[in-house]
């Protein structure tokens, strides 16, 4: 069983019982290199059913159709690119897809400005290289290399943060499905089942725009922000519960109305209008994503658990909101103050304590 002292377990270990149940209940044909049928992968991701007595929790709570498209893409051995605003569960979905398909979501290349081509292809253990010369043992295989060998899924996170030459290294891999190692006179063909799931952030657009050649090799799925209030509240509630049990926070779960308030504030500031659409609002410079709302609530729970009575008080919430909303001191502060005065203050007595607490922080 998984080690309880690990801060964050990979998806396949965290949800091992669910995956095992699905695999043992499998009735449909399984694509080569996969552990279960596409339909079971879909069940794993969308959840809300019982398989062999095991509750399958929902992993992705947005449009089921998008998940279907993502899975179908992997079935056709095309690479999948998930695009979306920060915090729209791109990496989350990518991790769970890999976990369900291969039982291994750890072949990850994190795209950064410092990512080099070697991290996509392979590099060398220099000590051994000098001692023995180029030989298979001296080679350090990249996650993509390993995925090609085993016929599984490699994940590339934040692909648009990589320099273009690094992105280009993927092109030949994705079109030829081979990787050549000239030093060893080797041509590694990708085993059946190999694919790549990449994620890219719309906020990074223009940082290192993907070339048309690379884009063409991906099927692109755009993940939207949650379409309605209920979905978003659902997501926040579920994820906060999962997070807090993992983090051993000594606080009670946030109440329904707390979640509702946070989600309302986030949705309104994100959309630049009140929920009823009657009032226009300024938007903030940062992204108020669902993920941000989740961490905000977990944060408040930590505050309440460690320094309070274990219940999220309005002042905890106000402090957390302040931190989440006001990212850019000048602009966001004005936005937030306007929101407090024009919207929150007029919301009636339920909102009043929160308003007062927020007001206090803003003088």
């Amino acid at each position: 069983m998984a080690d309880k002292n690990v801060q964050r377990l990979p998806a396949e270990e965290l949800y091992q019982t669910e995956l095992d149940a699905l695999i043992s209940a499998e009735t449909e044909p399984i694509p080569t290199g996969w552990r279960m049928s596409p339909r079971s992968v879909l069940t794993y991701l969308t959840g809300n059913t019982k398989v062999k007595g095991v509750d399958i929790t929902p992993k992705y709570m947005g449009s089921k159709r998008l998940v279907e498209i993502a899975i179908a893409t992997l079935v056709t051995d095309r690479a999948l690119l998930l695009i979306g605003e920060p915090g729209t569960a791109k990496s989350w979905l990518s991790e769970h897809l890999a976990a369900a398909v291969n039982g291994d979501s750890t072949k990850v290349v994190q795209g950064t400005a410092g990512t080099t081509e070697e991290q996509i292809r392979y590099s060398w253990n220099y000590a051994m290289l000098i001692a023995k010369g180029p030989c298979p043992e001296a080679m350090v295989k990249s996650p993509v290399y390993r995925a090609m060998e085993t016929g599984s899924i490699a994940r590339v996170e934040e692909i648009s943060r990589c320099a273009s030459e690094v992105q280009d290294a993927l092109i030949s891999i994705l079109s030829e499905k081979r990787l050549s190692v000239p030093e060893l006179g080797l041509e590694v063909p990708a085993a059946k089942g190999f694919s790549v799931i990449a994620t890219a952030n719309t906020r990074d657009k223009g940082v290192n725009d993907m070339s048309a050649a690379l884009k063409r090799r991906f099927n692109i799925v755009v993940l939207p922000t949650p379409s309605d209030m209920e979905t978003e509240m659902d997501i926040v509630r579920t994820r906060v519960a999962q997070l807090s049990s993992g983090l051993d926070l000594n606080a009670r779960q946030p109440g329904e109305d707390t979640v509702e308030k946070v989600v309302t504030i986030f949705r309104e500031l994100r959309a630049g209008a009140t929920l009823d659409g009657k009032q226009k609002l300024k938007t903030t410079s940062g992204v108020l994503s669902t993920a941000e709302a989740i961490s905000l609530l977990a944060n408040s729970m930590a505050l309440a658990g460690s320094f309070g009575d274990g219940r999220i008080s309005d002042s905890d919430l106000a402090a957390a909101l302040q931190g989440a909303v006001v990212k850019d001191e000048e602009h966001d502060k004005v936005t937030w103050k306007e929101y407090l005065e024009n919207v929150m203050k007029k919301r009636g007595h339920e909102w009043l304590p929160l308003y007062r607490a927020c007001r206090e922080l803003n003088g």
Partner: protein, 769 residues
């Protein structure tokens, strides 16, 4: 089987149409009965005409207002269409068997009157032949489809497409009849009212019985009906003669009209099967070519072509990927071939880079399409169509009835060098005609803004013919038998619904442009009624000046202005009575008041029948009073000056009074601003005025000067350079400097130092200025 063969269909379903033809080939019936209005069998002949291009629709409408309509659309892939065409090709008799259109309309009428003859009626736009299962009314249908949707996790269209459009080899008739039966059982379970459906089925049964009685063997009769009705037709008994007599009937007419895919997709009132007419036609083509599986290739290649045509790059590789992805998506849902939603999602993912908006244009083109039906010449036309074509010929506008955009310039003046009076006023009559079409909302002629300055006998139009326009003309048949009659009805309706005098005045003007004195009179009476209730001065003034235009130029359009005159008098009087109190306002509202004042002034000048005395007295009073908005007072003074009713002495006295040191600077300067609002040359010419202004300004202390400056700057802002130059000359004279030097200072751009001083004014507290 002993009774007539029943073939349950979903209307507008290509698969149903395809299998229906096979079934007909096999059954070789002697009589084909199709669900459709049984009194309109005559229209079938035109549907089968070789020149007819689908989509077309049968439109029935009541003769008396309020007009009600009922519509039966026919696309090439409608099973009904194919049944009719099959019968025509094989020389077999074919008839409609549903309730007559008059009864459908009768039901609607009864419903609207609240007689409660039937309670389960569908929405008026829910055309009966439209959807097989849909025409049982929105209530039942809705709930069952919702249930189906939650069960399958897909919308009903997709469910239908996946389950029925892709049937191959199986007995479509049996499968679909079963589906209809079960759907019906499920809706009956929910205890909903199916009154209209039952009545219709009884009638259909009656038609069948009549056919049998006339000697056609029952097994040689083939009925095409919505699959929902199959069970009803099997079980219910035919309608008796008494029952038939008791049906409500409306007096109505019917016509065949060209229809468009756009309308089929958006306006048919229910959501089944025709959200994507072009796609369904494509499926129909695919079925006749090589099987329903072809549809995916056709759709994706057409979409790619349309997307390329819109200026985007689509590689064949992307299309191939889209096909593969769509197939996989279909497989995940357990169907053999992709449905429209699979195809669309796949193409968004591959060709559209994840966002539908990129593909939206191409998708609309491929799914809905621009196809418009066509009917051969001589098809029974509505009387308004006939009238339209007759007038088109008479006015020699026929050459403009093309798809090409053409311009038409009209000269409304009477031509004196021609013989007949008809020809002399030819352009005027064309103008009337085009304006009437415009009022009816027929998109044939588009009025361009006038290019004339100071005259208005020219009118400029842009004409282009589309089939949409034909449809709009047919629709206006609901309002009258002729173009003029329909326009009159439309104007009357608009006038009755108008709620402000500005609206009513606009309608009056339309009626005037259409050359319809009757409608104009009606609009006028509405206008009069509305004007009794209080209205803002600016609205009254604007309306009055609109009417004034008619009186002054009505002659050009042969319009007798006599009925308008009393109303103008009334409005004039009203504005005279309310103007003075309207002048008590803040500076924001003042400009609207002065604008109204100007309008009334022009009005009075233009019409001798409006008492001048009253107006002058009013102006003098406004000009003299100190408690009104000074801007308004100033403007009143300006009008008096312009009309020569204020002499030099009065002006100088007023200036001295208004611009005396004791008066707050904003009031004084505001007055001056009003004064400068009109007739500037008269002001510029009066040297004494400038001398007084100069004296006044030099007498102010710094603080008050800064306040005054703001207003004066605003007052002078819209003076033209030459006017400023003239003022400079005046000032030069007063200060004893060379006029040119003064001008130089005034006309130069602001220097930095001056700008700094002006900027410092920005921090000036203007209170509520």
């Amino acid at each position: 089987m002993s009774g007539p063969a029943l073939f349950g269909v979903r209307h507008l379903s290509p698969a149903a149409a395809y299998h229906l033809r096979r079934a007909l080939d096999e059954a070789k019936p002697e009589l084909v009965l199709v669900e459709g209005p049984s009194d309109l069998n005559g229209q079938m002949e035109w549907l089968c005409h070789p020149d007819t291009r689908f989509p077309a629709a049968i439109l029935a409408y009541t003769k008396e207002p309020p007009v009600r309509t009922v519509l039966w659309p026919f696309a090439v892939y409608s099973p009904e269409t194919q049944a009719i065409l099959w019968a025509h090709e094989h020389g077999v008799e074919c008839r409609f068997m549903d309730l007559p259109s008059s009864v459908f309309l009768g039901f609607r009428e009864a419903e609207s009157v609240g007689a409660g003859v039937l309670t389960g009626l569908s929405e008026p736009e829910n055309s009966p032949a439209a959807g097989a299962d849909e025409d049982i009314g929105p209530y039942t249908a809705e709930s069952i489809y919702r249930r189906l949707e939650t069960l399958t996790g897909e919308d009903h269209d997709t469910f239908w497409e996946r389950t029925f459009e892709q049937l191959e080899g199986e007995d479509f008739q049996a499968v679909n009849n079963t589906f209809g039966r079960q759907l019906r059982a499920a809706s009956l379970e929910s205890g909903r009212d199916l009154a209209e459906t039952v009545v219709r089925e009884a009638y259909m049964k009656r038609v069948m019985a009549q056919a049998v009685a006339s000697g056609v063997p029952a097994e040689k009769i083939f009925c095409v009906c919505g699959s929902f009705h199959v069970a009803g037709l099997e079980e219910n008994r035919p309608m008796t003669d008494e029952e038939e007599k008791a049906l409500p009937k409306a007096d109505c007419c019917a016509t065949l009209m060209p229809y468009s895919y756009y309308r089929l997709s958006s306006r048919s009132g229910y959501g089944a099967g025709n959200k994507a007419p072009a796609y369904f036609e494509l499926l129909w083509d695919a079925l006749n070519r090589g099987g329903v599986g072809e549809g995916a290739y056709l759709y994706l290649t057409r979409l790619a072509a349309a997307h390329r045509k819109a200026g985007n790059l689509v590689s064949s590789a992307e299309v191939i990927e889209a096909v593969r992805l769509a197939d996989t998506l279909a497989a995940m849902r357990g169907s053999k071939y992709p449905t429209l939603s699979d195809l669309r999602d796949a193409s968004v993912t591959t060709m559209g880079h994840g966002s539908f908006s990129e593909l939206a244009v191409a998708a609309a083109d491929t799914e809905i399409g621009k196809k418009i039906g066509f009917l051969p010449e001589g098809v029974a036309r509505t009387s308004v169509q006939e009238d339209f074509y007759r007038q088109l010929k008479e006015l020699r506008l026929e050459k403009y009835r093309t798809a090409e955009l053409q311009r038409l310039d009209l000269d409304l003046r009477e031509k004196l060098n021609v013989k007949s009076q008809q020809a002399a006023l030819g352009d005027l009559r064309r103008s009337f005609f085009l304006h009437r079409l415009r009022v009816l909302g027929v998109q044939f002629a588009n009025l361009l803004p006038s290019r004339q300055d100071g005259a208005n006998w020219g009118e400029y139009w842009e004409l282009r013919w589309t089939t949409e326009a034909e449809i709009e003309i047919v629709e206006s048949a609901l309002m009258g038998d002729t173009v003029e009659g329909a326009a009159a009805f439309a104007l009357k309706e608009r006038a009755d619904n108008s709620s402000s005098i500005a609206q009513a005045a606009a309608i009056f003007q339309d009626a005037f442009l259409c050359g319809m004195p009757g409608a104009a009179a009606h609009a006028l009476s509405v206008l009069q009624g509305l004007s009794v209730d209080s209205a803002a001065i600016s609205e009254v003034a604007e309306t009055a000046s609109r009417l004034s235009l008619v009186v002054r130029y009505g002659d050009l359009r042969r319009f007798d202005p006599a009925p308008v005159v009393p109303l103008i008098k009334q409005l004039y009087l009203r504005s005279c009575l309310t103007l003075e109190s309207a002048c008590v306002c803040d500076s924001k509202a003042a400009s609207a008041v002065t604008q109204a004042m100007d309008r009334i002034n022009t009005l009075q000048l233009n019409h001798e029948f409006l008492e001048e005395d009253r107006w002058l007295k009013l102006l003098t009073s406004i000009s003299d009073r100190d408690d009104l908005n000074t801007h308004c007072s100033g403007f009143a003074m300006a009008i008096l000056l312009e009309r020569g009713k204020a002499d030099e002495e009065l002006l100088s006295r007023e200036v001295a009074r208004r611009l005396s040191p004791g008066v707050p600077a904003d009031l004084g300067a505001g007055w001056f601003e009003g004064l400068a609002g009109k007739n500037r040359y008269a002001l510029i010419a009066r040297l004494s005025l400038w001398r007084q202004l100069d004296q006044y300004l030099s007498g102010l202390d710094d603080e008050t000067f800064r306040r005054a400056l703001v207003f004066l700057r605003r007052a002078f802002a819209d003076f033209s350079p030459s006017e400023k130059n003239d003022i400079a000359e005046n000032l030069g004279e007063i200060w004893g400097v060379n006029a040119r030097q003064a001008a130089e200072i005034l006309m130069n751009d602001v220097t930095e130092a001056e700008q700094a001083v002006l900027d410092s004014l920005d921090e000036f507290d203007f209170d509520d200025i």
